[in-house]
């Protein structure tokens, strides 16, 4: 077991006695591996692992993302391989709500419970669904935008990418809420940020090149698009002048919030998602009754509440504590 720990980088269990009992391997499969968001999720999963070990269970989590971050095939392959490998359970953030359905069902058929996290999967055969209510998150951002603009103005939405369910729900939640404020017009909501910060940056620059001077507010639905939009707004010197509501948190975004360059961020709780995901999987392995859905909640972070301890814990999850400072 020790070998696997080293290879997967999940860290060692500090001070725990050698756990006994049957070996329980839980595969945790994110959509990607290179965002703070997934790091937090990983830390949450590691926390659940450590607690289980402390409770004397011989639990290991295997952290494995697809190599290419937008590649459904790669993720399908990962799920299928874990099925062949006969892990005890899987915790999966599906890249696609349909494409992953059959591999997941095959795993369930092979007796491997699968807990879906982060984004939904169009299948009844899942152990549980642990996620943010994305539409609610979008609506929260919309309400805040209406408030910030006093119900009047012109706004721009830079979408994330085609076919990404979670961000589409956020965009929908946001736009539906905005419709309730007749004073607000959406000047553009049909351009996409693309997969990386740089694609988002270019896209934002170009869209702002056309509408930059005429708008009062901007909404972006995830980390990379928010980062890219911030850079583009900085270029045209509009940061702090117009109202900017983003999604997700990472170091620079919180700094920007504190500097009042961003007026609000909708923050999810990936740490909790990872933690709950693994715990739910453990329950499922033990054949306990698990809830069909678990909402890990969204929080609106603003320059005013960013100092709160509760918010602070949300935006600075104890990654180092659980993954080791590397």
């Amino acid at each position: 077991g020790g070998k696997k720990d080293a290879a997967t980088g999940t860290g060692s269990t500090p001070g725990a006695a050698a756990p006994a009992g049957p070996e329980i391997d839980i595969a945790v499969i994110p959509k990607g591996t290179t965002h703070d968001y997934w790091k937090s999720l990983h830390a949450g999963a590691a926390k659940a692992e450590q607690e289980a070990k402390a409770a004397g269970k011989n639990v290991h989590i295997i952290w494995k993302g697809p190599v290419r971050e937008d590649d459904r095939n790669a993720q399908t392959d990962v799920v299928q391989t874990f099925t062949t490998q006969k892990v005890s359970a899987m915790v999966l953030a599906p890249l696609d709500s349909e494409a992953l359905a059959r591999p997941v069902e095959a795993a369930e058929d092979a007796g491997i419970p699968v807990v879906i996290i982060d984004s939904s999967l169009n299948s009844k055969k899942i152990a549980s669904y642990v996620a943010t209510d994305n539409e609610k998150g979008g609506a929260l951002a919309g309400t805040q935008m209406i408030k910030l603009l006093g119900g009047k103005g012109r706004i721009l939405v830079l979408r994330y990418g085609i076919g990404s369910a979670s961000t589409e729900q956020r965009e929908k939640g946001f736009l539906d809420t905005i419709k309730t404020a007749p004073g607000i017009t959406v000047v553009s909501s049909d351009q996409y940020a693309g997969p990386t910060v740089d694609t988002a940056y270019k896209s934002a620059q170009n869209v702002l090149g056309r509408y930059g001077k005429q708008i009062d507010g901007v909404f972006t639905p995830n980390e990379s698009s928010t980062l890219g939009m911030r850079l583009a707004l900085k270029d045209i010197n509009e940061l702090g002048k117009l109202k900017f509501v983003g999604f997700d948190s990472s170091g620079p975004l919180i700094d920007a919030l504190k500097a009042n360059e961003i007026q609000a961020l909708v923050v999810q709780n990936p740490f909790q998602m990872g933690y709950m995901g693994v715990n739910t999987a453990l329950d499922a392995i033990a054949k306990k009754q698990v809830p069909a859905t678990i909402d890990t909640g969204v929080t609106l972070v603003t320059p005013e509440n960013v100092g709160d301890p509760k918010v602070n814990e949300l935006i600075n999850p104890p990654i180092d504590k659980y993954l080791g400072a590397s």
């Binding site: 696997k4 997967t8 591996t33 190599v67 290419r68 590649d71 696609d96 494409a99 085609i162 076919g163």
Partner: protein, 339 residues
Amino acid sequence: MTTVQSDPPMQAKAAPSSPGARVQQIMKSLGPFIGLFLVVVLFSIQPGVGKTFLSFDNFQLVLSQTVIVAIGALGMTMIIISSGIDLSVGSVVALTGVAAAVLMKDHHMPAIVGLLAAVILGGIVGAINGGLIVALRVTPFIVTLGTLEVARGVAKWIGNENAVYAPHSWIDQLTQNTAPGGVSAAVWIVIALAILVHLMLKFTVFGRSIFAIGSNEVASRLSGLRVDALKISIYALAGLFFGLSGIMQFARLSGMGDPTIAQGEELDVIAAVVIGGGSLSGGEGSILGSLIGALIMALLRNGSQLMGWPSYIQEIIIGVVIVVAVALDRIRHRSAGKA
């Protein structure tokens, strides 16, 4: 002038090949197997993982994961032998999958129509590629870089920027492990097609012409080969395979046509062909080699995951193996070939 009869040693010479050449031949076709063997051994000897790796379940899995790239590699092998390249594979896979889904969902066509339409659409895109290459005299790299973008755009367009979910049909079953031998029907389809293409390349005028224009286009033209028509046919025929690959992708996604699928797949397909002994300067390549190339890549991915290596290690290893496999092939060539 001597007459033919007066020359007994001729008969000996007319035998398939000299012993030296035969050894060379064997070495050449054995080549990619060495890489395959090394990869299999590498993972088999790992304690804890070896057994899973060598299990029948895992074997089924790797085969089913190889299918899409393998079908693409069949078409790409022909193109690469003809000294061309096609970067649009990934986009064509997406486009044809979406097209099938749209036909089946929005136009309520039976599955067979969706399948045929996808394959034919692939062929049409291929014919357009070939036609542009011939008509504009622009290098295949650029023409297909263009179609890469265009086909992707069209896929998004007809899919209305969204994944299209077709009703379930027997197509979905193609990639399920329900066929004889415990593998999927797709695997048998790949094997059957591979044999056909192999025979075509070896024993037909068309196949010979593909090798000829790939080795020396000018000399082929001046020998009366219809180089332009041949090129269009090659790309069109390969396009049919890419369309079929799109259908397999569609099946693997349980009947979903996804316009964003298979991005960058062209590099996997090309790598498979080249690992299998294909030369990008044309005139060389083999179907068996390309299939093994595709299998090597799938086994590497599968094995590294079983090992629990993080994805970056996997990337590094795949990169190294691509280079090493091709380098081995070159060394073999040199030792077997010219002194």
